[in-house]
């Protein structure tokens, strides 16, 4: 995949699951899908692999609200929306208005290097079924 990436068989199988899943799986989801695919890794190995891949920059860790961290193999800059009803997570590619990060730097004095956006609301399905 990338140079300097030490992909053991376990790490590769974890990477494969994450990159083939469109729904931002949690560590537990990854475990389960590995098991379904006939692999059996220790819990610690899944966590270690997810961290390794995150540090290596080939996947991203998403933390949105409470609950388990989720993982995403899409690397393009993007943000996320979470459904407050069913928990579904989707990508947002609409880019943040330029200048906002700089405005934050000016206001706070922080050296901002990254801005995470998490939108919350109802996904199309839940919005439809809640419209009574």
């Amino acid at each position: 995949m990338y140079r300097n990436l030490h992909l053991t068989p376990q790490r590769k199988s974890v990477y494969d699951i994450v990159s083939q899943s469109a729904d931002h799986p949690t560590a537990a989801d990854v475990m389960e899908r590995l098991r379904q695919a006939g692999h059996k890794l220790a819990y610690a190995t899944v966590y270690n692999s997810l961290r390794y891949l995150t540090d290596a920059g080939v996947i991203q860790e998403l933390r949105m609200g409470s609950g388990a961290a989720r993982y995403d193999a899409r690397l393009e800059a993007h943000q996320h929306v979470v459904c407050t009803q069913c928990g579904r997570v989707d990508e947002i590619f609409e880019i943040m208005p330029a200048g906002y990060a700089e405005a934050i730097t000016n206001e706070t004095g922080y050296r901002v290097d990254h801005v995470d956006v998490v939108a919350k609301g109802l996904c199309p399905d839940c919005a439809k079924s809640s419209r009574h």
Copy 2:
């Protein structure tokens, strides 16, 4: 404080701690400050109170990255910056460019009702000491 707010002595003491703390305390911080102030509440009571106050809309719960939730008594619309080195959290009052939430709605089909922004970077102090 507000109408329809059932402030028991315990809830009031939790509210007082949160509103007098500028550093976005965690539940454990609140516990400790209560103890220092001479109150002793059960852990569950602190959590219940924080949730009650959050639901009542008089404080906000902040979840940024891993670790414990933090609480904030400032109610004006605002966002947060976290220092990736020391964990300090500050407020951002610079408002999000209008139209961004709507752009998200258009792109994703979600009925977006709220957008959380968490900026990450180095706080002024850490930035200074890391400049070698």
